[in-house]
């Protein structure tokens, strides 16, 4: 049992990060903290993809006669795209937070809810 957990430790870390991030998004009322949580949540998926591309004993995918076993590059390339998407999301989210702060004077979700009267 313990061995099974240790062998797949990267997947366990992915799951833990996923839950930590998800919990932060849901439970925190500070908008910046929500974005940090969202980032952790997305990062866990990056780890999941990178883990699945790894081949035991494999090297980086370089075209060279000396290497015959190498990692699957596709998940790594895919996740590069997802990282870019994550950066864009964070940038957009942060700029929204700046504008929310400018027009409301607060970035606490529970205070924002009360500020416009009818929701």
């Amino acid at each position: 049992m313990l061995q099974a957990i240790l062998d797949h430790y990267n997947y366990w870390i992915a799951i833990v990060l996923m839950m930590v991030g998800f919990y932060t998004v849901v439970a925190r009322s500070n908008l910046i903290k929500k974005l940090v949580g969202l980032n952790i949540f997305q990062t866990s998926v990056f780890l999941l993809y990178i883990s699945m591309g790894k081949v035991t004993g494999g090297t980086a995918p370089i075209l060279d006669d000396r290497y015959t076993i190498y990692s699957n590059p596709i998940p790594h390339v895919l996740i590069l795209t997802a990282i870019v998407v994550g950066v864009a999301t964070t940038a957009l989210g942060l700029s929204l937070v700046v504008r929310i702060r400018e027009s409301y004077g607060t970035i606490e979700d529970n205070e924002l809810d009360l500020m416009d009267g009818e929701t």
């Binding site: 998800f22 969202l38 997305q42 795209t81 929204l96």
Partner: protein
Amino acid sequence: MNVVLPHLPALQVVIPLIAAPLCLLAGRASLAWTIAFLASACATAAAAILAYQTLHHGPISYHMGGWAPPWGIEYAVDSANAFILLLVSGIATVVLLYCPSSVSKEIRAGREHMFYCMFILCLTGLLGIAITGDAFNVFVFLEISSLSSYALIAMGSQRKALTASFQYLIMGTIGATFFLIGVGLLYMITGTLNLADLQTRIPQIQDSRPLLAAFAFITVGLALKAALFPLHLWLPNAYAYAPSGVSAFMAATATKVSLYVLLRFTFTLFGAEFAFGELPLHWVLLVPAVIAMFAGSFSAIFQHDIKRMLAYSSVAQIGYITLAIALASQAGVQAAMLHMFNHGLMKAALFCALGCIFYRIGSTRIEDMAGLGRQMPWTFAAIVAGGLSLLGAPLTAGFISKWFLVQAALEQSLWWLVVLIVASSMLAVVYVWRLVEALYFKEPAAGRKNVREAPLSMLLPTLLLAAANIYFGLDTRLTVELTGNAAVLLMQGHM
């Protein structure tokens, strides 16, 4: 023509994609609008030709950059997604016609070209989701459309637009990430991302647990993007506080595209046998759909802001579409596709008409609209046509889709479901009547005795959409043939 035609599937997405940065570089509102409009019109023409080709010559497979699938990215067009492409690009073109006056009123001067840039980028994303035959590509386009729509919503004139956009950003990103996890798991067990290839490999691993997890992640992620009850919380504020043109465009297209992907993944990829036989997708979709029909309509009745009212009504209408999907039959899928199209028409018409009112009085609250129907007769006519279609009155597009939905339910002898569909339509009568009563039978407020019609550039597209609601209620050849074809393809599981 022979140079262009074979590359139509690529051009469908590439033309608006290139137009987006051009809009930004244009700098001036009028020039940016011209570029956006031309790109959108080209996309519509491409979608129309593709729809014609798929109907008469069967599905088209386009290999991006000449790389053969499953290694390269394939764009696969058949009747099902050609229909969605036509809806999305058609609505975008009409809404863009409507935009110039409305945008110059609602968006700060000097930023209008950015609005068009985001709008056309959002169109790119939605078209891309529909046309691509690659699971990861769906995610990329999903995020392109989502990120641009967050920016579009934040451009709304009230400050509430900012919090609405932020809320949508959080929930939308969670939805898209769930989808990404699902696609990752699928790749892990099959080693392919091509949808057609996935379809042949999934039956061989029917019993594996990652497949179940992938299915769950993908369904929940798409349900979030499609605003299926109880994951709809982002929708009312997002639609209510977005600029008028954006509300009209998004309400008509964004959720439909997600529902299409749900249809494609459920029926074609995983197969109805797996989703509805081995897993209880029937009940997982049916119960929330019925709750959405009633909860959405009830909430709509009690809204003071009419844009919010229509947004809640969208939640209810998405309920009808999911209900049709949950029936898991050919008739059900056809009803779902039909209602996607017809609901797109009615919501676009209604949101455009509301935009006309907002243009004149700067408010969409029901108490501010009292008596306006007599001063803005054409706008009022559009609201009545859209409203009738919304509640499913005969001779309107809404009736056709309700009719197909009821038939699909009767096919499985689900009488109680028919009763529920009719009962929830009665709720729609209540909130549509509330609007009509305020507009026509109440006395206008003191300062609002001489409100004129909105400019023609806004009124004509609105009336065009309203007329489309009537037209597709009378002449159903195009919609019924295309959706019938699409339903057969989706159910048989052709890619």
